[in-house]
Amino acid sequence: MKSAALTLVDSVEDTSVKAEPVAVPSPSLKNDASTGVSPGMSEARQRVETLLRIVLLPAVTFGLVLLGWTIMQQTLVPSFPDVPAVWNKAVEVFSDPFYVYGPNDMGIAWQVMYSLGRVLAGFLLAMAVGIPAGFLIGANKTFERAWLPLISILRPVSPLAWLPIGLLIFRAVDPSAIFVIFITSIWPMILNTAAGVKAIPQDYLNVARVLNFNRYEMVTRIYVPSTLPYMLTGMQLSLSTAWMVIVAAEMLTGGIGIGFYIWDEWNNLSVPSIIVAIVIIGGVGIALEAVMNAVRRRYDYTLQEG
């Protein structure tokens, strides 16, 4: 009975493949019924389906956006560049990403690297200040009471509001942009580290007490490793926000950087360059996220379970 059904399926599949190769769905649907018998085949099918899902669906979305863009451009806003114009701009930008024609005229790779450099500098400074501060606030009730109200007031403020203060203090644009990134990054680091310290189970502290750990051992053997997943979450939040903020900060400060590049191209009325820059910023954002995910997979013990 079962084998008869199988041969039927097989024969249907054979004939349909020979007769009309276009009608793939109909035999493949029947194939589902026999998955238990031919797991290799269904596995391959599953792989193809996964591939379709992660490649084809996004491709369709991109296609629709490009189509919508083209229609809009040709009907409503003719001043907007069309897809080929942007493509040509992208080819031009990427063909020589490392040129240097002067202090204010450099290739796109340099622009991105300057921005990344500022983000990294502000981010590292925020780590140096925010993580110890988070430990103090998380571990010490007095510190928490003293500092939390101030942090609560400052945290919702757009980091860009600090730019004039930075310019006033440092009288230079680079340190001011770094200062803005520092302000952006520090709140998630403080708050997540503090939350992590508070979440340390009493059990771990009891183990440390039975072992008579001194203060230094307590910090290095219990506090830091136990809090690390929270710190990494704070760092990931900080980094993705910092990358968003740097674009806006550079638009205001000028100089070299992907943010000012956009502003400059707007003044040149080169909208294709702006669109290329937007895509680049998105790509760099994904890359930063991937780096942080890799770091977390390596160091976050809660992700190593199972």
């Binding site: 189970p201 059990d203 771990y204 009891n206 183990v207 007490r209 039975v210 072992l211 008579n212 750990f213 051992e217 053997r221 219990i222 490793p225 136990s226 690390l228 013990y301 809660t302 190593q304 379970e305 199972g306």
Partner: protein
């Protein structure tokens, strides 16, 4: 005063907690002497203060009255000479099984052993609890019973004068629990440790202990009765079923617990 060969002496111990609804007297006038090599179980209904008593012996909490003396010295805080096996194993999740034991070994033997000796001692302790094969696993990758074995290895690695077990098998299933009880008996026979174990399992108390300390219900709980278990070692659980001493000890504890049933819980 009590006998001089006592390794651990609990003297007129009292503990009062300051709670939001006022002072709560958990323990009053607890008096207990434990000889070297003795296995003591402390049993009582939940809330009778047996965990409080263990915390006071461990030094994790400090008494309001009286004191705990180890070899004549007043206990002022926690320390590796009174190693604790916690109820929920308390392994550090970012360290491997080996790392958890090594952490204790590194601290306790920082001056007495060199690196190679510490490594050897760590592996010896893991082998003692039959966990040598899982040395490189993380706590999240092993079962509850295995975690508790590692917890025991970590405590034993400190070479404690008194090993304190805080309901060590409470969270385990019956079969795993029996295996671990056998392991603890085996280790106790081999190393001759002095052990104080908190439990609410009557059979476990009778099987493992030389003496069973039964506690009254709180508030102001104290020791109600102490029963000597005169069973020869090694004890085998299957052979004890009809042993009259075993049954006598078992019914003594059950009778005590029944008489001290908490009314509101019934």
């Amino acid at each position: 005063m009590s006998d001089h060969q006592a390794l651990l002496h609990v003297s007129k111990l009292g503990k009062t907690f300051n709670t939001r609804s006022g002072a709560f007297e958990a323990l009053r006038d607890v008096e207990l002497s434990i000889r070297k090599g003795e296995f003591i179980s402390i049993i009582g209904h939940s809330g009778c203060g047996k965990s409080t008593l263990l915390n006071l012996i461990a030094g994790l909490d400090s008494p309001t009255l009286g004191g705990v003396f180890l070899e004549g010295d007043l206990v002022l805080g926690p320390g590796p000479e009174r190693a604790v096996v916690f109820q929920n194993h308390s392994l550090l999740p970012w360290l491997t099984v080996y790392g958890n034991v090594r952490l204790a070994v590194d601290k306790v033997f920082s001056k007495k052993k060199n690196t190679a000796e510490r490594d050897e001692w760590t592996r010896e302790m893991l082998a003692l609890v039959n966990m040598g094969h899982a040395a490189d696993k993380r706590p999240s990758e092993i079962s509850g019973g295995m975690k508790q074995r590692v917890g025991i290895a970590r405590a034993l690695a400190m070479e404690p004068k008194v090993l304190l077990l805080d309901e060590p098998f409470g969270a385990l299933d019956a079969l795993t629990r029996a295996q671990l009880q056998d392991s603890v008996m085996d280790i106790h026979a081999r190393l001759g440790n002095t052990v104080v174990m908190i439990t609410h399992d009557v059979d476990e108390a009778v099987l493992l202990s030389d003496r069973i300390v039964m506690m009254n219900n709180g508030p102001a709980a104290g020791i109600g009765l102490i029963h000597d278990v005169n069973l020869l070692r090694p004890r085998r659980r299957l052979e004890l079923g009809e042993n009259s001493d075993y049954l006598a000890a078992r019914s003594a504890v059950l009778r005590f617990l029944n008489e001290h049933r908490i009314e509101k819980a019934a």
